[in-house]
């Protein structure tokens, strides 16, 4: 009986910690910069995304976009355009992402700055996509979670028109999708 209870408690603890770890990286930065007005923070839940599916599509392209959106469970973004030490924050965030078990998908270095794209995958399905971007004065961390199709990321990013998501389009430019 005691062994069974211990096993349940351990299993429960593992499940709780696994769930926490999924967004722990983003949560860390949301908490860290909660009161810092220089950082823009956006959080959208699955319920908000599900409302978008109630919109009537005007074209097959919009229908495809709404279908992809409906598979998302959430979006979290934190971004700052003019902050000192952003380059250092980027370096720390990259380490945090890779330490949290995310697998590097791609890294980009261009005129806009450095970008890391990493994913968490389960049974061939991407459950979370994280993008970390940084330059000497700007920092961005974007997390999309749910059932993610990399081919549609660019369309989702452009349609949502949330300032800061445009960097996600680099993923498709590089992979040629």
């Amino acid at each position: 009986m005691k062994t069974k209870l211990s096993l349940i408690l351990i299993l429960g603890g593992f499940l709780v910690s696994a769930t926490y770890a999924q967004n722990a990286v983003v949560k860390k930065y949301f908490d860290q910069y909660a009161d810092n007005e220089a950082y823009t923070k956006v959080s959208v839940s699955s319920k908000a995304f599900s409302l978008m599916t109630e919109l009537e599509p005007g074209s097959p392209e919009e229908k495809e976009f709404l279908t992809e959106i409906s598979k998302l469970k959430g979006l979290k973004m934190i971004k700052a355009d003019s902050v000192p030490g952003a380059g250092k924050t980027y370096g720390i965030a990259v380490k945090d992402v890779l330490s949290a078990g995310f697998e590097e998908l791609m890294s980009v270095k261009d005129n806009d700055g450095n970008f890391l794209f990493a994913i968490k995958e389960k049974s061939g399905i991407i459950e979370e996509l994280i993008m970390v971007g940084g330059s000497p004065n700007s920092f961005a961390l974007v997390s999309l979670y749910g059932t993610i199709d990399l081919k549609s990321i660019s369309k989702i990013a452009s349609k949502l028109r949330v300032k800061g998501l445009e960097d996600l389009q680099k993923l498709n430019k590089k992979t040629g999708n």
């Binding site: 923070k41 959080s43 839940s45 319920k47 109630e54």
Partner: protein
């Protein structure tokens, strides 16, 4: 048997009241304007008989709109309202935005019917709403336009910033 029904009724009454009481308790003490709409009053606003408007509001049971005074900013009412609902079971984040001094939070209670609480604040203004029921959110501009353009509401100067605020005695934290 009768006693158990009475107890059940009392529990339901308390539980039902608690859904909007967090907002009311905090917003009422800082309220500059307050509008309360029930289905009949929402329908009354539709003086142009706009069928799109009617379909937008048909599942709304109650809508509270607050314009809060400047003391709501210094008293951090926004954060208190959000935390008050997060601490209550069945309420969860719908969307949250922080951009400079602007903060927007919308929370949802996913039950049947659902309920929403929203609060938006900047460095100069705080607005809050409580919605019990379902709104066709894609038609929100229609609702907004109808309320803003309504001649009855315009006559009452409910959105007149020159009207003195009605700050009651503040409750201790």
């Amino acid at each position: 048997m009768r006693l158990s029904f009475l107890i059940l009724f009392l529990i339901s009454a308390v539980y039902g009241r608690s859904q909007e009481s967090v907002l009311k308790d905090l917003a009422d003490t800082h309220s500059k304007r307050k509008l309360c709409f029930y289905p009949s009053t929402l329908r009354m606003l539709n003086i142009n008989k706009d069928s799109l408007y009617d379909s937008t509001i048909k599942d709304v049971n109650k809508l509270l709109l607050y314009v809060l005074d400047s003391s709501a900013i210094s008293d951090k009412v926004h954060r208190k309202i959000v935390q008050g609902y997060i601490d209550t079971s069945n309420w969860e984040e719908f969307t949250s935005i922080r951009m400079g001094k602007t903060a927007v939070d919308v929370l949802i209670k996913s039950e049947n019917p659902p309920a929403y609480v929203g609060i938006a604040s900047s460095d100069s203004a705080v607005f809050a709403f409580y919605l019990d029921g379902e709104l066709k959110w894609k038609n929100l501009p229609t609702l907004q336009q109808t309320i803003s353009d309504n001649p009855i509401l315009s006559t009452l100067q409910l959105f007149d910033d020159n009207k003195p605020s009605r700050t009651r005695d503040k409750k201790p934290d």
